[in-house]
Amino acid sequence: MSAPHHGLSEKRFESVIGMMLRVGVILAAAIVLVGGVLYLEKYGAVEPDYRLFRGQASDLRSLHAIFGDAALGHSRGLIQLGLLLLIATPVARVAFSVAAYISERDWIYAAITLFVLGILLYSLSSA
């Protein structure tokens, strides 16, 4: 467990994960901010209404539709794309861990992280 080589690779593993999380959050926040500015420019004077729950329009509820909307430069679609990227950040972190544990032949943790990845993908696939 305390073999120097192992300790080093663990450290590297942590720094890659840390970097993935940081980049994901910064990128997501930037996209949300751009979408937000466009959104307020267009709808800033509209009366806000969140008292009643109506759910979202179908174009903001599925992965496919969000991508389409964002590609057209629609502000709400852009924000939703940023949020999607934010949600994907921890998913990418888990996917990277699966690969890292497999390459270390750590089968127990490869199985554990693969299971978690399955749950995350299942949830996202419902969107």
Binding site: E14, G18, M19, Y50, I79, I87, L120, Y122, L124
Partner: protein, 280 residues
């Protein structure tokens, strides 16, 4: 309220404050943002928990990057327990779409009360255990953390099944209420599994993003995540939490924690009351 611009800026400012206080007190932004949106801005609780969940992912990922560098987080413990929290989060997100919002408000209030009382009495030190569980040894959960004067301190992990079970509960609450449920996660790790406080808080933060991501897909599909609302909440909470993390080492948080716990308890009672009367 006069228009969306003003509404959005007010929410961003409130979220910034929630993120700041949440990170200084260790309660997390989610437990503050939902009452703020529902009680002050009269937002439907489903939109509120959708926006909160997104902000929880942002703060968790943002802070985890910094914590990993310091060497406190135990990644193995985090990955292993994520099995329990993500399954719980899926169950919680399904439950959220099926039970009445009044019931969600009441459960939220109760969790808030627990978190507040827990935050007020933190600082208890868990004695370092001499041996670990066989299961913990098999999963190689034991770890080390840096200390100021003694170098790397080793610790052993105990009562893994109990911790795992509590983590399932934490995940369910997270998916049901759109919060990180850091208080329950820390309870599972430091009280049940004897993991040192600094390790359990940073590892809990590390897990929160994955846990929240497990319910986010379902929230998105059900239309709980409104871009116009989630935008100021996510940006505000993230900004506040990052500032909080920066000033935390120098800040005198003891008094703030106690004061804040009292305020949170008052908010909790209001949420329970409104839930009982059915007007939330």
């Amino acid at each position: 309220m006069n228009g969306l611009l003003e509404f959005t800026l007010l929410i961003a400012a409130g979220s910034f404050l929630a993120g700041l206080l949440g990170s200084l007190t260790g309660l997390g932004g989610g437990v503050i943002i939902v009452p703020l949106l529902t009680l002050v801005f009269h937002v439907d609780i489903r939109y509120a928990i959708g926006a909160s969940l997104v902000s929880v992912i942002a703060t968790s990922s943002g802070a985890a990057a910094a914590y990993l560098k310091e060497g406190f987080s135990n990644i193995r413990v985090g990955m292993f327990l994520e099995v329990a929290t993500t399954v719980g989060a899926l169950c919680g997100a399904y439950l959220a779409t099926r039970i009445p919002t009044a019931a969600i408000a009441i459960i939220f209030g109760l969790v808030l009360l627990y978190s507040a009382s827990d935050s007020a009495k933190h600082d208890t030190l868990v004695p370092i255990q001499q041996r670990s569980d066989p299961l913990a040894a098999r999963l190689r959960l034991d770890g080390t953390y840096p200390t100021r004067d003694a170098g790397l301190q080793k610790y052993h992990v105990r009562r893994v099944p109990l911790g795992f079970g509590l983590m399932y509960v934490a995940g369910t609450l997270s998916g049901l209420l759109g919060i990180g449920s850091g208080a329950v996660k820390v309870l599972a790790m430091d009280r049940a599994m004897s993991i040192p406080f600094k390790v359990s808080t940073t590892t809990s933060n590390f897990m929160i993003g994955v846990t929240a991501a497990a319910s986010a897909g379902i929230y998105l599909h059900r239309g709980y995540i409104d871009p116009g609302l989630a935008m100021p909440v996510m940006l505000g909470v993230l900004g506040g939490a990052l500032l909080g993390a920066r000033i935390l080492p120098e800040a005198e948080v003891r008094a703030l924690r106690v004061l804040f716990s009292v305020a949170i308890a008052a908010v909790a009672i209001q949420m329970i009351f409104k839930g009982l009367r059915g007007n939330l």
